[in-house]
Amino acid sequence: MEGAIHAAREVHAGYLFLIPLFPLIGAALNATLGATLQKRFGRGAVHGIALAAVFASLAVAARAIWEVASQGNGVVLTQTLWPWIGFQWHGLSLSLPFAFAVDRLTVVMLFVVTFVGSLIHVFSTGYMQDEKPYWRFFAWMNLFMFAMLVLVMGDSFLMMFVGWEGVGLCSYLLISYYYEEPDKAAAGMKAFVVNRIGDFAFIAGMALLLWALVGTWQDGRFVADAGAQAPTLVFREVEARLHDDAFREAFLAKTAWGVPVVTLCCILFFFGACGKSAQIPLYVWLPDAMAGPTPVSALIHAATMVTAGVYMVARLNFLYVHSQTAMTVVAVVGALTALFAATIGFFQTDIKKVLAYSTVSQLGYMFVGVGVGAFSAGIFHLMTHAFFKACLFLGSGSIIYALHHRQDLKDMGGLRRVLPATYWTFLASTVAIAGIPGTSGFFSKDEILWRAFDNGQTLVAGEVIWFLGAVAAMFTAFYMTRLAALTFFGTPRADEHTLHHAKEYKRMTVPLWVLGGLALVGGVVGVPQALGGSNRFEHFLEPVFAWSGERLVWLSEEGQAHGGGLHSHAGEVALMAVAVLLAVAGILAAIRIYRTYRSPEDEARLYGAGVHKVVFNKYFVDEGYWAGVIRPFLALTRAAGAFDKRVIDGIVNLCGHATKVTAWLNGGIDRVFVDGTVNALAAAAIEAGQRARRLQTGRLQAYVTGVIVGLSGLAVLVYALGRG
């Protein structure tokens, strides 16, 4: 059946390992020798290594991209490096190789990671040039590239997990780059801990999937399926098995705690994605992650790492399409996050915080895309978002650098003459994220909104999801325009001295121009048919998602889900028009309000103090977590500590006391009997000595007398013996 058409053609490519290897070498060199190199040869040596590593990786990735793109449908480049994990369990043997696989979905991610990553590395050489531990920054950046490339290229859940944890670690290291400042170190820890919560769900999902593929649990015992194949965690093998009708029927019928296993798996994986991709309820770490250097925010917390969750859901499309519930959860959480985070963006006064909430919001869009089955649209938005959000973050970096690390909007304003390159590229990206027709963000966002409206899979009406997304789009246009207005327009609020010395370095402006350009025109690869394009992007990814697409159609027809009504290009164009109108309305409203500078106090007066207070404080979610989760948790740890101290320690101390008493008794026996004997012997010896001592009088005559008596005795003895 379908499997025959979509059977991926595997081509061995022996060079794949070089893609992650180069950054790993760069990281290792800078981590070990970086401090020495920087001291002896200056910063050039450090970023020379780092840039060579990422550009080498980009070059090899380009070859892989070309090879996949130029060959026909469904080619997958693979390389197995070594057998990695193997064990026997219940007569089933799991063996996983350490292997890479590059298909068309991976190719998109490879492009985003290596290309945007390289640009951000270049930018960093300017932005970080005054930092003392320059080498540490580039070592971790390269290590991040390595981990991210393992994440996207890994051919199994476990390989992906290795990269998944690796990027989490690098994120932590880079957020805490200024670790001398306690609040920044704490931000790193927060990111790490929140991510770990998601990671736990990932592990649980992986374990659940592993056994569900080969058996069931009955009355707490694992029972292998009759004729089960060896368990596997390799993506392609799992998908190939699902292509088999009999296997799929059996797999989908399995339940755990009364819930279909596939739904449970998908929701667990999605919860993992929520952690990494900052979705409700685990988004709280991302705004705090802005404590890291701005290029880190651009690379990790906008363009690449935070999109890993979206990539994961898209990668697992063959699982998700079988669970309407999980798909609905993904789409609804995405839509709610998109709207919720967009509103928080309204009143933030820190330029990076606005962009952070914007990122959370845009990630929500991507999840709407993958959640309604429009996997390629989600990935498309992932790519365009990487362009414009990286550009926005780098632009904010350029501003922050020019203003000597001040990032509050009250210190900005009127920067368009001082930082022209930053201004133009920032503006281009703002237009793109707001969804003005023709820009990249317009094509990708509207593709998602249209597919959400038109979808027949989710349990919640597509129209509702569309509405949430469209309102969020209007809000996005509003807060981004506010941000641009407060930054670049009006009268400068920074002091003369700062403005006079502010300048843009070429190393910083070149990446800005490239990314800003792509933000404007990068959407051409995905112009929808409704607008006379051919949506080449979707066709490019078709081999990866085709089977899932067919399954989706089949499922929605069978389940008679509420099919969206507007299966027409006219409907799509109408929806686009609505979205554009909303975006323009948002932009115009923001221009009207922010024609002049509005301080937080002005905003509070303008929007109502209550609303402003709630939104400005991010709906008190952090406080809620503090009161609802962290404090109870701390109380629990304290209670556990008290239990440990009173009960456990009590038992331990009791044991100690018992030992002490026993030892005392033992010692008594020792003292009385054993020592008694020893002492008695010693006393006897002393007594004998005391007595013998009297013989030594010191009187010479007494000795002589002794000698005479002795000699006489001896003489008598000899005489007697001689006689005898």
């Binding site: 030594q696 009088t697 010191g698 009187r699 010479l700 005559q701 002589v704 007398t705 005479i708």
Partner: protein, 102 residues
């Protein structure tokens, strides 16, 4: 009267016993030393007598000369010690000088 070995041995024995009694009874350190000299000379008489009447040769005489030399040396050392004791204790009574027992 013919002088025989027995006469010498009796003389030596008498001398030895006198020395021994001297050694055992005298409290004066110098007196004690005199006793020691008597004993040594008793031994010398025996050596020479045995040499003359017994084995023959001059080994006995040689030993006697050796003993005389040794006795002289011993007396020198002993007298030096006695002098030192006198300096320290202002007495040469051996009963008073008994600190070495402690």
């Amino acid at each position: 009267m013919h002088v025989t070995l027995t006469h010498f041995l009796v003389l030596a024995a008498a001398l030895f016993v006198l020395g021994l009694i001297n050694l055992a009874t005298r409290r004066n350190a110098i007196g004690v030393l005199l006793g020691v000299e008597l004993i040594l000379n008793a031994a010398n008489i025996n050596l020479v007598a045995f040499s003359r009447y017994g084995v023959g040769g001059i080994e006995g005489h040689a030993f006697a000369v050796m003993v005389i030399a040794l006795a002289a040396a011993e007396t020198v050392v002993a007298l030096a010690i006695v002098l030192a004791i006198f300096h320290h204790y202002r007495t040469v009574d051996v009963d008073e000088v008994s600190r070495m027992k402690e």
